[in-house]
C-alpha cells in the first residue's frame, strides 16, 4: 500500500524561518517526495500552536493521511504534542515522525542555502523512515502508590510530608543516623535569621511520627530494579546495635559510654561525640547508633558499659545489617550536596593555619547547641576575634575548581558577617567578586549588613598567610587581595578567616545516579528533564530530583522543589496506571541461538535465558527500549520497536537523497 503522507514545516517564528527557507522546503517535499507518498506539504508559523495542530488533524481527516512528518524542533520537545494531535484525529500516534530542523539545522547553521538544503535532507530522511513505522500501542501498567524518598534533608522531608499528607505511604531513607541534612547544623538561616532548629525540628518530628512515613535511617539503597510504577528497591539497614523496639531514647548509654570520638560529620570536627551516639539532641529518630569502628567493646572485647546501664536492655551487640525489599511506584532523590573541600585552595591555608575556618565550622561555632555554645572564638577555644575576614566564592566561579556559582555563599557570607558583628563586635571584612543577592528580601539583608558597618572589599583574595611583613601584622592572618574598586593591592590583617566554601555534588552522585538510572551534568549534579520547564523530573520516568542534588540552591528553593516533586508523584499515583512507551525490544526466537551475549547487558534486567529452549527472552514490562541489547546481538535476533533496521536504513537512504526518483 502506498502511504498518504503529510509534511508540515514549522517556522518556529524566526527560530527556523530565519535560517531556513521553510516555504522552499515544503514545496520541495511536495514535488520531490510525491512518489514516496507525500500528498500534502505545508509550512506554518507555529506548528505546536492549537491552529498548527488543528491543521494536521484536519488533513488527517480530510485527506486520509496515513503518516505525518513534522519538521520542527527536537522530538524531545514536541513529539508528544504532535503524536497527541494525530491520536485525536484517529491516527496511531507512532505513525508521526519529527524531523528536527531547529536544533539540528537552524540553530547550528548560519548559511541559509546550506541550512535549507540540509532541512530537505532531514525531511527526506523522516519521510522514508515514517513509511516503515509501525502502529504501536501503549502498554498500561498499574502504579504502585508507595513512594521512596532518598535523603532526609529539608528537600526530602518536604517531599515525604506532602505525599504522606495526601494519604500515601512513603519510605524515607537516610544514610546518617538522623534526618535533617545540612540544615540541622545551622544556627540561623538567612535572610530572616530565624533559628534553623526552630523551623526544622517540627518538620523532622512530623516526618518521624507520621503514620504514612516509614523512616529508615542509617540505611542506604543498594539496588533498584523495575520501572515507573513498579520499582523494586533493596535497602541496606545498617546495624545500629540498638534494638529500636526497646530503646526509648533516654540517652543513658551515651552518657555512660567512656569512649569520646571527634565528630567529623555533624560537628565538622570541632566537637566530640561518644561511640554510641545520636548526632544531636533533636535527632529523629532519637535512638542512637553504635559506631563499631570506635566502640571499645568491638575493639578490645570488654566494656559494655552502655549495656549495663541501659534500662530497657536495648543494646544488642549481635545485630547484623539487614536487607529490606520494598516495591514503590515513584522515587524522589534528595541526596543534597557535599561541601567543597577548602584544603584544595592551599593558598587560603585551611588545615595549615589554625584560625582559618570553613563555613560549616563557623555554623557549628555560632550554634548555641554547638561545641562552644555559640561563642565565636578562635581555635584555642577562648579568644574572641577582634577582626574577621570572610572570603566568598571559595572553590566556586573558579576555573581551577568549579566553574559554577554555588548560589548560597554570598548570602551565607553576609549571614556570618552579621553574626560576628552581633556576637563579638569585631571588625568584619567581606571579600567578594560579585555580590549575588537575588531573590526575595535578600538584597535588603545585604543593605542591613552594610549598615551594620561590615567592610566590603571587591576582589579575589590571592592568599591568606601568617608571614608578617609589618609590625601590625604580627600574630595575625594577613589577607592579601586586590581591591578592584580602589584599584590597588591590599594586605588586611585579621584574627580569624572564614572561607565561604561552595557546594559540590555528593562524592558518590555518579554511582547513585547510575543505580537509579539517571545521569549527571558535567559538573556532577543530577540532570533534570528540562532545565526550565521540567526541573524536578528526570529522563527516567518515575525518578525525580529535588533540592541541592539537582544543583546548588537555598532552603526555600529546596523546599519548593520537594513540594513540586510531590505534586508530580501524586499526579502519577492518582492516575492509577501509567502508559509505557511501546518502544521495546523483542527477540525473534527462531533467530536467537542462545549465545547469551545479551544476557548480562540489560541495565533493567529485562533479559532472561530460557535454558530449556536455549533462547533468550525479553520481559516487555521491564524493557525500557534503551537499545543496548539490540546493538549487541550478533545474530541480529533482537529488534527495537520504533527503531527497526528497516526504519534506520530507510532514514539513512532518505538523508542521502537515495529515495528521490531518478531524473
Amino acid at each position: 500500500m502506498t502511504e498518504r503522507i503529510g509534511v508540515y514545516v514549522c517556522h518556529c517564528g524566526s527560530n527556523i524561518a530565519g535560517t531556513v527557507d521553510v516555504v522552499d522546503v515544503a514545496n520541495w517535499a511536495a514535488e520531490k517526495l510525491g512518489h514516496q507518498g507525500v500528498v500534502i506539504a505545508r509550512d506554518y508559523k507555529f506548528m505546536c500552536s492549537s491552529p498548527g495542530q488543528e491543521l494536521i488533524e484536519k488533513d488527517i481527516k480530510e485527506l486520509g493521511l496515513t503518516r505525518v512528518v513534522v519538521a520542527a524542533c527536537s522530538p524531545h520537545l514536541h513529539e508528544k504534542t504532535f503524536r497527541t494531535a494525530a491520536k485525536n484525529a484517529g491516527l496511531n500516534p507512532y505513525l508521526v515522525e519529527l524531523a528536527s530542523i531547529r536544533e539540528q539545522v537552524s540553530w547550528v547553521h548560519s548559511d541559509k542555502a546550506v541550512a535549507t538544503a540540509k532541512s530537505k535532507a532531514v525531511v527526506s530522511g523522516a519521510v522514508s523512515r515514517v513509511i516503515e513505522n509501525a502502529p504501536l500501542e501503549e502498554i498500561k501498567v498499574p502504579i504502585n502508590p508507595n513512594t521512596l524518598v532518598v535523603g532526609g534533608g529539608i528537600a526530602g522531608i518536604q517531599a515525604a510530608l506532602e505525599i504522606a499528607n495526601a494519604g500515601f505511604r512513603v519510605y524515607l531513607v537516610e544514610r546518617e543516623p538522623s534526618i535533617g541534612g545540612h540544615m540541622a547544623q545551622f544556627d540561623k538561616t538567612f535572610p530572616t535569621l530565624d533559628c534553623s532548629a526552630c523551623i526544622l525540628t517540627p518538620r523532622m518530628v512530623e516526618a518521624g511520627t507520621h503514620p504514612n512515613i516509614t523512616l529508615l535511617t542509617w540505611s542506604e539503597v543498594v539496588n533498584v530494579a523495575g520501572y515507573v510504577g513498579n520499582f523494586n528497591v533493596t535497602i541496606k539497614k545498617k546495624a545500629r546495635f540498638i534494638n529500636e523496639e526497646l530503646c526509648t531514647g533516654c540517652g543513658i548509654c551515651q552518657e555512660k559510654c567512656p569512649k569520646k570520638v571527634v565528630d567529623d560529620v555533624y560537628e565538622a570536627g570541632l566537637g566530640y561525640r561518644k561511640a554510641v551516639y545520636t548526632p544531636f539532641a533533636q535527632a529523629v529518630p532519637n535512638f542512637p547508633v553504635m559506631d563499631k569502628e570506635n566502640c571499645t567493646y568491638f575493639i578490645k572485647g570488654t566494656c559494655k558499659a552502655c549495656e549495663k546501664f541501659c534500662p530497657t536492655n536495648a543494646i544488642d551487640f549481635n545485630q547484623q545489617d539487614e536487607l529490606i525489599n520494598i516495591d514503590v511506584g515513584n522515587i524522589v532523590l534528595a541526596t543534597g550536596y557535599d561541601l567543597f573541600d577548602a584544603r584544595r585552595v592551599s593558598n587560603y591555608g585551611y588545615g595549615r593555619l589554625p584560625n582559618v575556618f570553613t563555613s560549616i565550622e563557623f555554623e557549628r561555632l555560632s550554634n548555641a547547641a554547638g561545641p562552644t555554645s555559640g561563642n565565636i572564638v578562635l581555635r584555642d577555644g577562648k579568644t574572641v576575634p577582634k577582626s574577621v575576614g570572610i572570603i566568598h566564592c571559595v572553590g566556586s566561579r573558579d576555573r581551577n575548581f568549579n566553574n559554577y556559582c554555588s548560589v548560597i555563599c554570598c548570602m551565607q557570607g553576609l549571614k556570618f558577617a552579621h553574626l560576628v558583628h552581633e556576637r563579638t563586635g569585631a571588625t568584619v571584612y567581606n571579600f567578594y567578586i560579585d555580590m549575588r543577592t537575588a531573590y526575595k528580601t535578600y538584597d535588603e539583608f545585604y543593605q542591613r549588613v552594610l549598615e551594620e558597618g561590615t567592610l566590603f572589599v571587591r576582589g579575589k583574595v590571592a592568599e591568606v598567610t601568617d608571614a608578617a611583613r609589618y609590625s601590625n601584622e604580627k600574630g595575625k592572618l594577613i589577607i592579601q587581595t586586590e581591591d578592584t574598586l580602589a584599584g590597588k593591592q591590599r594586605r588586611i590583617p585579621v584574627d580569624m578567616v572564614i572561607l565561604s566554601s561552595g557546594l559540590q555534588p555528593r562524592h558518590d552522585a555518579k554511582e547513585v545516579g547510575k543505580m537509579f538510572g539517571i545521569s549527571c551534568s558535567t559538573d556532577g549534579w543530577f540532570t533534570e528533564r528540562h532545565p526550565k520547564l521540567d526541573p524536578v523530573a528526570t529522563m527516567t520516568e518515575g525518578v525525580f530530583i529535588v533540592g541541592c542534588a539537582q544543583g546548588p540552591k537555598d532552603i526555600p528553593s529546596s523546599v519548593a522543589q520537594g513540594a513540586a516533586a510531590s505534586a508530580r508523584v501524586l499526579d502519577k499515583i492518582l492516575q492509577k496506571e501509567v502508559a509505557l512507551e511501546p518502544i521495546k525490544a523483542t527477540i525473534n526466537k527462531e533467530m536467537c541461538s542462545g549465545c547469551r551475549i545479551c544476557n548480562g547487558l540489560c541495565p533493567f534486567n529485562a533479559i532472561a535465558f530460557l535454558a530449556d529452549d536455549n533462547v533468550s527472552e525479553i520481559n516487555p514490562a521491564l524493557c525500557q527500549g534503551c537499545g543496548t541489547c539490540v546493538a549487541a546481538c550478533p545474530a541480529g535476533a533482537i529488534s527495537g520497536m520504533g527503531f527497526s533496521d528497516e526504519q534506520i536504513i530507510a532514514q539513512i537512504d532518505g538523508l542521502l537523497l537515495r529515495n528521490l526518483e531518478p531524473a
Binding site: M591, C598, G636
Partner: protein, 332 residues
C-alpha cells in the same frame, strides 16, 4: 519445471577463487553421478574442456543451473559472470567468494598496484628486473591479452542478478548434495524452487545454535589466541574462554564443525539471516561483553584482537554494508 529436448544443462564456473568449491562438489562422492545422470554438463572448466566461445554460442537461458564460484576481480571474471547470467535460468552464487568476497575480498583494503607489487616481490619471488604483468603484450604471433585487474573484488551480486546464494568456504558437501537433490526433484516436478534471493544449503540461525558447547553470561577480561591457552576447556563456549569466536554472527549450516573440533568459528558461512553488516555485528557483540571499567582497560582487552578487520571481516569485507568495493582508499 519441464525441460524440452533431453536432459537439462548444468554449468559450473570459477572466477576469483581458490578452487576449493570445485573440490567440495567433487567431494560429494557418488552424488556427482546423479549430476551426470540427470544433467547435461555443458561447461565446467575444472572437470572438462570447453571454450568460452561455445558458451557464447548457446541460446540465452538454455542452461538450467549454473553454480558460479569466485568473486569478480578482473574483466574476464566479469565477462563470464555476465555471459553465464545471460545463458542460465538459475544462477547460484556458490561459496563464500561469490556470495560475499571471502579471502580475496580482503585485498580490497589495498590498491591494485600494491597488490601486484606484493605478489611479484614475495620472499619466494625473485624479481630483480621488476617485471610485472601487462594487459597486452606483443609477440611474433600477434598481440596477447591477459585479464586486467579491477580496482576491487566484487561479489557476484554486485555485478549481475543472482537467483540463489549458497554460502560456505567451501559449502559443506552434504549441503551441496541436498541442493543437487532438490534441483533434481524440481526438474522432475516433485518440488518447488524457493523464492528468488533465498540462501540455500544453509540454516537460518547461527553457528552457536548448532554448537554443542555450554554457555553462560559472558564477561571477557582478555582475548587470547587459541594456541596461547592451555588447556582449552573442551565443553565451554570458546568465546567465554577469551577466544574470539565468530559463531554468534555466522550463519548456521556447517554443523558447527570448527567449535566442535576445538577451533573457533572464523565465519566462513557468512552473515546470519538477521545480520546486515557482519563485522559491525561481531565487534559490537564482542565489545558488549568485555569486562572493563576504564578506557585503558578497554584498549588493553581489545588489543588482544591484533587484526580486527581480519577477525570480523575475514569473509565479508567485499560484501559488507560498508561495501569495500568502493574505491575506499580514494575517499578523502
Amino acid at each position: 519445471m519441464t525441460v524440452n529436448g533431453g536432459k537439462p544443462k548444468f554449468a559450473m564456473y570459477w572466477a576469483a577463487s581458490c578452487g576449493g568449491c570445485e573440490i567440495a562438489v567433487l567431494n560429494t562422492h557418488e552424488k556427482i553421478l546423479d549430476v551426470d545422470a540427470n544433467f547435461d554438463v555443458v561447461f565446467w572448466p575444472v572437470a572438462m574442456d570447453a571454450k568460452y566461445k561455445d558458451v557464447e554460442a548457446m541460446e540465452d537461458g538454455s542452461i538450467l543451473l549454473t553454480l558460479f564460484n569466485g568473486g569478480i576481480r578482473n574483466d574476464e571474471n566479469e565477462h563470464l559472470a555476465k555471459l553465464l547470467r545471460q545463458k542460465s535460468k538459475i544462477l547460484v552464487a556458490f561459496g563464500s567468494c561469490a556470495c560475499e568476497g571471502c579471502i580475496p575480498g580482503l585485498a580490497n583494503l589495498s590498491p591494485v598496484g600494491d597488490i601486484v607489487h606484493t605478489a611479484y616481490n614475495t620472499i619466494t619471488t625473485d624479481n630483480p628486473n621488476e617485471i610485472y604483468p601487462r594487459a597486452t603484450y606483443d609477440v611474433p604471433e600477434g598481440e596477447l591479452h591477459i585479464p586486467t585487474l579491477a580496482k576491487v573484488l566484487r561479489p557476484l551480486e554486485q555485478v549481475v542478478d543472482v537467483d540463489y546464494f549458497m554460502p560456505g568456504c567451501p559449502p559443506e558437501s552434504h549441503q551441496i548434495a541436498a541442493v543437487i537433490d532438490l534441483v533434481i526433484k524440481v526438474v522432475k516436478g516433485e518440488a518447488e524452487l524457493p523464492p528468488k534471493g533465498t540462501v540455500i544449503g544453509a540454516g537460518d540461525s547461527t553457528v552457536c545454535d548448532e554448537c554443542p558447547r555450554a554457555r553462560n553470561v559472558k564477561s571477557i577480561k582478555e582475548f587470547k589466541r587459541i594456541q596461547d591457552i592451555a588447556p582449552v576447556d573442551p565443553d565451554l563456549c570458546l568465546l567465554e574462554q577469551g577466544i574470539p569466536c565468530n559463531g554468534p554472527a555466522t550463519r548456521s549450516g556447517c554443523d558447527a564443525r570448527c567449535p566442535g573440533a576445538g577451533a573457533q568459528c572464523i565465519g566462513c558461512y557468512g552473515p546470519a539471516e538477521g545480520v546486515m553488516d557482519y563485522g559491525a555485528r561481531l565487534i559490537t557483540a564482542f565489545s558488549s561483553v568485555i569486562d572493563a571499567t576504564t578506557p585503558e582497560e578497554i584498549d588493553r582487552i581489545l588489543d588482544g584482537i591484533p587484526d580486527p578487520t581480519g577477525q570480523v571481516y575475514r569473509f565479508n569485507l567485499a560484501g559488507s554494508l560498508l561495501k569495500a568495493n568502493r574505491d575506499a582508499w580514494k575517499v578523502k
